[in-house]
């Protein structure tokens, strides 16, 4: 890719967003005008398309549903409520999740009923048909899902290098077959995630390289944070090269989005028992905080939904969710 053209194009995009015209930009860069023009014209055309608007009826339906949820959902389960939970209770619930997770994983892996899904559904962890929404997420998916948003947060990576190295070693222990993730490869989003799990896809390496380059660009573009930016870029490149993009992504901020999602971490224990992929290992090996979250949530599910996922509080139970997964995988 022509970096010079990319930088000029980025400048032009900024100028256009600031009110300049395509011609203004082309005049400013006459030597690259012929290359820039088609890009900028495409940009203008796409940007000029009307945005899709939600229907008023749908808007109102959604609002009504939200209000109903507000009035029906329990409200007394904040962090304080979680703190009131005796550790003994937490241990009991976590143990139950492990047992259910492993057993259900085995069951699911063997084509039987998803016991964990049903059980967790009964305690309100899952929603609807037990497949939709967050409830369907396997622990492996949790790792991936948690990774995604954090992938944006490159700043955590540099601090995570040590863990990345550990993760990288762990991932190398995965054989390609063993690391095969769920085959949602049709969906590119899923494919990208799956490839991350496999760590052996050339396209993914390209993508990671792009991201690393982007991070490097961040550094270039943000002089004040130049040092951080470079560190981030390097961290990404190294880790991704080892197929551990998710390890980076799981750096620091997973606790929040995972806890935010609320549901499914406990269910993940069972679903991972499907043994469908070793991406669950991503959740396990890479997402230390996720593991804590998983336990935290599992713990929550029996008693409340709003534990803030305090990692400290959940550490003791941190590995429980993933251990549940492991049991399931063994059945596979």
């Amino acid at each position: 890719m022509d970096n010079e053209l990319s930088k000029t194009l980025a400048d032009c995009l900024a100028e256009i967003e600031g009110g300049a015209s395509v011609d203004d930009c082309l005049k400013r860069h006459p030597d690259q005008a012929s290359e820039l023009r088609p890009h900028l014209e495409s940009w203008s055309v796409i940007g000029g398309a009307a945005l899709v608007q939600p229907s008023v009826a749908a808007l109102n339906r959604g609002r009504q549903a939200m209000r109903s949820a507000l009035t029906s959902a329990p409200s007394g389960f904040g962090p304080l409520a979680a703190a009131r939970m005796a550790p003994a209770w937490a241990a009991v619930v976590a143990a139950a999740v492990i047992v259910l997770g492993g057993a259900a994983g085995a069951s699911a892996a063997l084509g039987g009923p998803n016991v964990a899904g049903d059980a967790l559904d009964a305690v309100g962890v899952t929603q609807g048909d037990g497949e939709g929404g967050i409830s369907h997420s396997s622990a492996s998916d949790r790792g991936l899902e948690c990774a995604n948003p954090n992938a944006f947060e490159g700043k955590a990576n540099s601090e995570d290098k040590a863990q990345n190295a550990v993760d990288a070693q762990s991932k190398e222990k995965c054989s390609p077959g063993n690391c095969e993730a769920e085959t949602d490869t049709d969906e590119v989003e899923e494919a990208a995630e799956t490839d991350d799990a496999k760590g052996d896809d050339a396209d993914d390496i390209d993508e990671d390289a792009d991201d690393a380059t982007d991070d490097a660009d961040d550094a270039d573009l943000d002089e004040e944070d130049g040092g951080n930016g470079n560190a981030n870029g390097n961290a990404n490149a190294n880790a991704n090269g080892n197929g551990n993009g998710n390890a980076n992504a799981n750096g620091q901020s997973n606790a929040q989005p995972c806890a935010e999602d609320g549901e499914g971490d406990g269910a993940g224990s069972g679903e991972a028992g499907d043994g469908t992929n070793n991406a669950s290992d991503k959740g396990k090996e890479n997402a230390n905080e996720n593991a804590s979250q998983g336990a935290g949530n599992a713990e929550d599910r029996g008693n409340n939904q709003n534990d803030d996922g305090d990692v400290d509080g959940a550490d003791a139970d941190g590995g429980n969710g993933p251990q549940g997964q492991g049991g399931g995988q063994n059945q596979d």
């Binding site: 998916d141 949602d184 991201d211 943000d222």
Partner: protein, 201 residues
């Protein structure tokens, strides 16, 4: 300098307001949630629509995002990041779950892939056809081309282009959602646009 100070002050006010809004939302204030919903539903809807290409599904999923937010607000901690960023993460997860559950029997009608004028695709791919998506059968294939081309982009590039073109955000807003500097967003958009054109050729 004065400008920067004014912007910083404005952001601080915004942060304080949003922090207060989140605090009220945690207390399950219906007014707070109504405000959040009114503010963000259209953006979340568009974002989802750009990923699922179906208005009805997008409506359902957008609604479920807010239900999940209501459920999970207790675990959300406001740390200065826009609340919208959290909603996007939920939306992202919701879309992923949806795709997993529908993948095996998903049938996408080409004619409903995107509600965009056909000429857009001509521009992007350097093609020359006339008419709109609705009137030109060939446009359906072009739509699919664009969708596929978008899908081939690295995730961050795809995200910033989706947020730009289908949600209607400017670079500053996108930057807050994806956690990058606006300049980095422009860079990603530029790379994404170049890649998009490459894939469409």
């Amino acid at each position: 300098m004065q400008n920067e100070a004014a912007v910083a002050q404005g952001l601080a006010v915004t942060d304080a307001y949003e922090g207060n809004l989140v605090a009220r939302a945690k207390e399950r204030s219906q007014e707070a949630w109504d405000e959040i919903y009114t503010r963000h539903y259209p953006q979340i809807y568009r974002y989802i629509h750009a990923r699922v290409f179906d208005a009805t599904i997008a409506e359902d999923l957008a609604s479920s995002v807010f239900l999940a937010a209501v459920k999970g607000i207790g675990s959300y901690r406001y740390q200065g990041q826009p609340f919208l960023a959290w909603l996007y993460r939920i939306a992202h997860n919701t879309i992923s779950s949806h795709h997993r559950t529908t993948l095996r029997h998903r049938v996408v009608a080409l004619s409903t892939v995107m509600e965009l004028p056909g000429r857009m695709f001509d521009q992007i791919g350097g093609r020359r056809t006339e008419g709109t998506v609705e009137s030109d059968p060939a446009a359906g294939a072009e739509q699919m081309d664009l969708r596929e081309a978008l899908a081939k982009l690295p995730r961050t590039q795809r995200e910033v282009l989706t947020l730009k073109f289908f949600v209607g955000m400017d670079a500053k807003e996108i930057a807050t959602v994806v956690g990058r500097e606006p300049a980095a967003v422009y860079s990603l958009q530029a790379r994404g646009l170049q890649a998009l054109r490459r894939h469409l050729r």
